[in-house]
């Protein structure tokens, strides 16, 4: 019974925080400096790691699929396979997991620390709304940054696939054949599909991580627990919503 109550309490809290954050988005123009700060933090924390992950993910896709396709005599399709896999699924999910792990965990730790050390209370006593001051800039920055990170990782992942397809003697595909096939199969709809997912995952990660951080009570030990909880919950919700968003996009013929 406690588990059920806790589920509804957390769900209600997340939806309520999302609504309040959307309301405070009206103050975004007056807080561009805070949003830019958050965008810089996200970029600084994710771009180098994102490039590495994307490069090797694209490479391993080509490494796994290339020889099989070559045996079937359709190795020129490696470009399309790597491209579509990254654009539709791997790109948004990998970028989300990266953002949740590096940026979301830092968000939760920062807000949890502020809760524990009475900084959130101090904001309230100064009549500064914590959702406007702390959550809204992080929310907008994450929702803007995640699609950009997906595009960045897609492009690097494609390159990783191209390199492996070229140097792998079982496939031995030229860059031009690889990229021509990729351009034929990856259309604008597929690209938008990935970006829509990225935007939704950005909403999930920022709201979950800020909610868990703001609700933290106790001492330093609880800050660590909150970070773990926020990251795990973000991962689970990203993967669950990935399925439902894909179903919805398929229903509307956008997949």
């Amino acid at each position: 019974m406690n588990g059920v109550m806790s589920f509804f309490k957390v769900t209600g809290g997340l939806v309520s925080l999302l609504m309040e954050t959307l309301y405070w988005c009206k103050a975004a123009l007056g807080n561009t400096d805070k949003i830019l700060d958050q965008l810089l933090v996200i970029g600084y924390q994710t771009l180098p790691v994102g490039a590495l992950i994307a490069l090797f993910s694209g490479g391993v896709l080509a490494l796994q699929a290339g020889p099989t396709l070559a045996r079937l005599g359709i190795e020129e399709n490696v470009g399309g396979l790597v491209g579509l896999s990254l654009v539709k699924e791997l790109g948004p999910v990998m970028a989300s997991i990266l953002i949740a792990g590096r940026v979301g965990s830092a968000m939760t730790a920062e807000l949890a620390s502020m809760s524990v050390y009475e900084e959130i209370d101090a904001l309230k006593t100064m009549d500064i709304n914590p959702v406007r001051y702390l959550v809204m800039p992080r929310f907008i920055a994450t929702v803007l940054a995640l699609p950009v990170l997906v595009i960045y990782m897609d492009v690097i992942g494609w390159f990783g696939g191209a390199v492996v397809s070229t140097i792998n003697p079982e496939v031995h595909l030229s860059f031009s054949v690889y990229y021509r096939n990729l351009a034929d199969l990856v259309d604008f709809t597929a690209f938008c599909n990935g970006l829509i997912k990225a935007g939704i995952f950005g909403v999930i990660i920022s709201i979950v991580c800020c909610y868990v951080g703001l609700k933290t009570k106790g001492g330093p030990r609880e800050i660590g627990t909150a970070v773990t909880k926020a990251v795990v919950l973000s991962f689970v919700l990203v993967l669950v919503f990935d399925y439902y968003v894909t179903r919805i996009l398929l229903f509307f013929g956008l997949d």
Partner: protein, 277 residues
């Protein structure tokens, strides 16, 4: 020894605004609205834990009242109710005659609080911490805000520390930055939550001097929660003794000293003296 005394005097003098300039810009800005506080029948429980069991307290405008009590008697909870961070189970809190839950209360009154942990924002410099309220509410332009912040830091004896990060400050300095932050809000009422906990005797005296200065120079209403008996008798106009969620005695420091109630005597008399008797 002489040098040490001189350094102590200098430190205390700076903190109490006796230095050059005396934070005149800020003192001219503070309006000293002198509001009274009236707490009536305040009750609060957390589950089965009845923390406040019916608090009644009257604080006159411009008065400094110290809430004295052992740890865990509900002093901080009471303070959190006064500033609106907690909602009571029953009872009312009136500040300047207005209920703190009235929708227009925040438009008419500003209350600031110096937290036990100082609650400074670690990602902001000292200046940004002190200026936060003024900047977020766009009270003045940046030039005037800078002057006010410098003036507030001068009053608390931290002039020239504007660009330092809170992590580089000692506990006492943090407490003084938090006080400067509370002052620039131009409050009607300042609340201090355990302002001297964890501080050495010299720094305790510095904080005590600061509270006395605010009382004499600005005549601002102050409520100080502490279990530091020396500080209480040093700064208070009146002292309220809180025990098990109730105020068991309320009066001037002299009245409290002369009180015959055993619970009060037990609390205000040093332990070694009790044992000697």
């Amino acid at each position: 020894m002489d040098m040490q005394e001189s350094a102590e005097k200098k430190e205390r003098g700076a903190a109490s605004g006796n230095g050059k300039g005396m934070g005149g810009v800020l003192l001219g800005y503070l309006k000293s609205a002198r509001v009274g506080v009236s707490i009536r029948g305040l009750k609060k429980s957390f589950g089965q834990n009845h923390v406040l069991r019916g608090i009644d307290l009257e604080v006159s405008p411009g008065e400094t009242v110290v809430i004295l009590g052992k740890s865990g008697t509900g002093k901080s909870v009471m303070l959190r109710h006064i500033i609106g961070l907690e909602q009571p189970d029953s009872g009312r809190i009136l500040i300047g005659g207005e209920d703190i839950n009235d929708p227009d209360f925040r438009k008419n009154h500003v209350i600031s609080m110096v937290f036990q942990s100082s609650a400074l924002f670690n990602s902001l410099t000292v200046e940004e911490n002190v200026a936060l309220y003024l900047k977020e509410h766009k009270v003045f332009d940046d030039g005037k805000i800078h002057k006010l912040v410098s003036s507030a830091l001068e009053i608390v004896g931290l002039e020239g520390k504007e660009s330092i990060m809170p992590s580089m400050l000692s506990g006492g300095m943090k407490r003084r930055v938090a006080t400067a932050r509370a002052l620039v809000m131009n409050p009607d009422l300042i609340l201090f939550d355990e302002p001297t906990s964890g501080l050495d005797p010299m720094m305790t005296r510095t904080v005590g001097d600061l509270i006395c200065d605010l009382k004499h120079k600005i005549e601002i209403t102050q409520i100080v929660v502490t279990h530091d008996i020396d500080l209480a008798f040093y700064v208070a106009d009146r002292i309220a003794i809180l025990s098990e969620g109730r105020i068991i005695e309320y009066g001037t420091p002299e009245e409290i000293r002369c009180c015959k109630d055993y619970a009060v005597r037990e609390f205000i008399t040093p332990q070694f003296e009790l044992e000697r008797r």
